[in-house]
């Protein structure tokens, strides 16, 4: 078991992959350290959201992902 990090939309290009697994638990500092400097820079942008276990976090810096949970990194959307 581990924490699965998903890179959505353009973040997958910056990460060079759609997802990766890291050891849990995972907090905000651990996330920034795990994703490389480019994605970490994007994560500091207010318009980039983080979801954990299917819920968007109101305060992404309060991330506390447990083993087996999925963390999704959500850049600004461009739907419809």
């Amino acid at each position: 078991m581990a924490v699965r990090i998903l890179f959505l939309g353009p973040l997958s290009d910056l990460a060079g992959a759609g997802e990766r697994e890291v050891a849990g638990p995972l907090d905000w500092d651990g996330l920034l350290a795990s994703v490389g400097p480019q994605v970490a820079g994007q994560l500091r942008d207010d318009r980039v959201n983080v979801a954990c276990a299917g819920k968007v976090l109101a305060d992404k810096t309060a991330l506390a992902a447990q083993d087996g949970e999925e963390v999704a990194l959500l850049p600004p959307v461009s739907g419809g």
């Binding site: 461009s78 739907g79 419809g80």
Partner: protein
């Protein structure tokens, strides 16, 4: 309600049924606009006003393909919640929101939204409300491939400034 309008292939008007009051779908293949609207119309026979919106892939310059990705654990619940907000905010008989994901060609339908109401203002406003949120506040990301090379590079599409302005008007008192 939905069962009432379920009908066999012999039914000429609507070959599929829509759920009432909200029919929300993520579709990974062709979106049947005509059948969707006919079924929605049939399901809301008492509504005096039906507004709808169809968004299609524009053959802009040399765009050859468009891909929409989404984050499934958020997308469908987000669209369901959006429909409930529209129902709470406007006087509606029903609302439909169908959204494509995957790879599309120019001319293909991306999104179909419809709202049925007693009066036209509610039907129009609800359709615009849902569209404005789908464009800027739903979990979709869009990229496109241009040029003649079938293995050409995909480029991510940035959100448009107008889309955020369109969304903002729903958070200020009218």
């Amino acid at each position: 309600m939905a069962r009432k309008w379920r009908c066999s292939l012999r039914c000429r008007v609507a070959r599929l049924s829509v759920r009432s009051p909200a029919d929300i779908r993520l579709l990974d293949r062709g979106l049947s606009v005509g059948e969707g609207l006919a079924a929605f119309n049939a399901a809301h026979g008492e509504a005096g006003a039906i507004a709808s919106f169809l968004g299609k892939v524009r053959p802009d310059g040399d765009v050859k393909a468009l891909e929409l990705t989404h984050y499934a654990p958020l997308t469908q619940p987000g669209m369901e919640s959006l429909a409930q907000q529209a129902i709470a905010r406007f006087s509606l008989d029903g609302v439909l929101a169908w959204h494509r994901v995957g790879v599309m060609q120019p001319g293909d339908a991306i999104v179909l939204v419809a709202a049925a109401a007693r009066h036209r203002r509610d039907a129009f406003d609800a359709t615009m409300f849902v569209m404005d949120h789908l464009k800027s506040a739903a979990w979709f990301w869009k990229r496109e491939r241009r040029g003649s090379d079938p293995d050409g590079e995909w480029r991510w599409v940035e959100p448009r400034g107008e889309d955020h302005a369109d969304l903002a008007r729903w958070t200020t008192p009218d």
